[in-house]
């Protein structure tokens, strides 16, 4: 009985610690590898004890009611964005449920999973400050082929530390042969 009491007390302490770490993770916007690793460690410890002490309390730092950002592009066909660089290098679309005020994109090779171009995305009205924003981006001169276009809710310099919020296969062609840069 005594053992169970101390165990519950210990788990309670861990739970308080866990909640504190969750706050640190939250303040770092989930970007601090240090705090995330602490969160996982203490989480693992709580889990190992809650198997022993039935009915251990569940930390509540996960509550969230914020929306998520969605990207819709204007001209998608067969789940692919087709771009003829001989006639147009602009891609337009809409971001709904916007939270971030910076967005960027990356263009990469599908076959090697590598990125070869990054750039910021600009709101049509100059600033990402409304719930729904239209935007335009420019596809750089690229040889014909199938690529991947990834979207980030951060500027281009911070992409490496962030996850893409959306992606779409993109097929690049040049209808005028003279334009092909192969």
């Amino acid at each position: 009985m005594k053992k169970e009491f101390y165990l519950s007390f210990f788990v309670f302490g861990l739970t308080i610690l866990f909640s504190g770490i969750c706050v640190a993770v939250y303040l770092s916007k989930g970007k601090s590898a240090f705090w995330i690793s602490k969160k996982m460690k203490i989480g693992a410890l709580i889990l190992s004890f809650t198997v022993l002490s039935s009915g251990g309390c569940t930390p509540m730092c996960y509550d969230s009611s914020e929306p998520t950002e969605y990207i819709n592009l204007d001209s998608i066909e067969n789940n692919t964005l087709n771009i003829d660089l001989s006639t147009n290098n602009k891609v337009t679309g809409t971001i709904s449920e916007r939270i971030s005020n910076e967005f960027s994109f990356a263009l990469g090779n599908i076959s090697s999973d590598t990125i070869f171009y990054q750039s910021d995305i600009f709101a049509t009205d100059g600033e990402f400050d409304e719930i729904t924003e239209t935007f335009a981006l420019t596809i750089p001169e690229t040889k014909n082929g199938d690529f991947i276009l990834r979207f980030y809710n951060t500027n281009q310099n911070l992409q490496a530390d962030h996850y893409p919020i959306a992606e779409i296969p993109i097929k690049i062609v040049h209808s005028r042969i003279a334009d092909v840069q192969n």
């Binding site: 969160k39 996982m40 989480g43 889990l47 996960y62 509550d63 009611s65 090697s112 996850y163 893409p164």
Partner: protein
């Protein structure tokens, strides 16, 4: 009110993936899908899981995608599920994470990882996943996981590209220390629709490969299961004693119900049809609505079949992927019939 018991829910935590597997069944990769709404959000994951756990008593969670390791703050989301006392399996392509994340996941009690190994030949595997080097990466992941004392299940998708050396592939997997293998025939859907001709085996090729796999499994004591429901009139389990076959349950609650990030609930991960949304519809109603009831019907093709109760017409989610109703028999019947007719015509000529 008591919660509805769901033994297993597959959670598609993100639709994003770094691979472009030729056989990928994810419905959003189907050539007919024109809308673009790929998803990836930690906040939304937690919100959706929280909602799920408030309406259902879920036993086991399988995290899938897309590639789950592409999901924002994936390990933290899994921790949330574990804190809610769910057992967890992760289906990953094995090319996107690192030792630290795997270790963290194992420490919080993730019990099983499922990874693809389509061939012992790296070029064959890479051709199927469409990424050079993916074979090497998945082998490295297996090496890491093997040291972490966790169950590893190898998944082989059987196609025209890898079927002729299936026995060698099973042996290779065994040598890696894995003794549990899912041997799944290519099941049309998603990106696989466009690649059907390149991937779909003929009836004879399919049966030969399963024979070879079954014999190898028995000789080598490897646990091999076929987890894509396949019409018994095409693969009869009695002919492949070394392989255990699973079939679709008629009871929707015993299905691998699949939850999307936005709360949409589907019959299984192969089915593209949304039964309802847990944020807007009552779970009880979702599980008993007309779309769900369609699965109870008998496809015309199977009306007189003695084994319907077990087979249930194969994978009818594949029918849905082909824009047919869930009351239509597995489209593999149709493909193999066409192939057979073509062979007969050639023979006559």
């Amino acid at each position: 009110m008591s919660k509805i018991k769901l033994p297993l829910v597959a959670f598609e935590i993100t639709s994003i993936c770094n691979l472009r597997c030729r056989y990928c069944y994810n419905y959003w990769n189907a050539p007919t899908i024109n809308t673009f709404l790929h998803f990836n959000s930690y906040k939304q994951s937690i919100k959706t899981l929280k909602k799920l756990f408030s309406v259902a008593d879920v036993g086991h969670m399988t995290f899938t995608g897309g590639e789950p390791f592409m999901a924002e703050r994936f390990v933290e989301t899994v921790l949330y599920a574990r804190m809610k006392k769910k057992s967890v399996t992760i289906i990953t392509n094995g090319t996107r994470s690192n030792e630290n994340s795997y270790r963290q996941l194992v420490e919080i009690g993730v019990q099983m990882f499922e990874l693809p190994i389509h061939s012992y030949l790296s070029d064959v595997h890479d051709r199927m996943t469409n990424l050079n080097g993916s074979h090497g990466k998945v082998l490295e992941t297996i090496r890491i996981l093997s040291q972490l004392d966790v169950h590893i299940v190898a998944v082989v998708v059987l196609t025209k590209i890898n079927a002729n050396h299936i026995a060698d592939t099973l042996l290779f997997i065994k040598q890696l220390g894995i003794t549990r293998i899912m041997l799944n025939r290519f099941n049309i859907g998603g990106r696989g629709i466009d690649n059907n001709e390149e991937l779909q085996l003929s009836e004879e090729e399919l049966q030969t490969a399963f024979k070879s796999a079954s014999e190898t499994a028995l000789q080598q004591k490897i646990t091999v299961s076929s987890n894509v429901c396949t019409p018994i009139c095409i693969l009869n389990p009695n002919d492949y004693r070394g392989i255990s076959f699973t079939f679709c349950s008629a009871d929707v609650k015993n299905r691998p119900l699949t939850l999307e990030l936005n709360g949409n609930l589907r019959f299984c991960n192969h089915s593209p049809v949304v039964l309802g949304n847990i944020f807007t519809d009552k779970l009880e109603l979702i599980l008993n609505n007309d779309k769900t009831k369609l699965w109870e019907g008998i496809p015309e093709y199977c009306v007189d079949c003695q084994v319907f109760e077990r087979c249930r017409g194969g994978c009818r989610a594949a029918s849905e992927q082909m824009n047919l109703s869930a009351k239509t028999v597995d489209p593999i019947i149709h493909f193999l019939k066409i192939q057979r007719e073509a062979q007969q015509t050639n023979f006559k000529q």
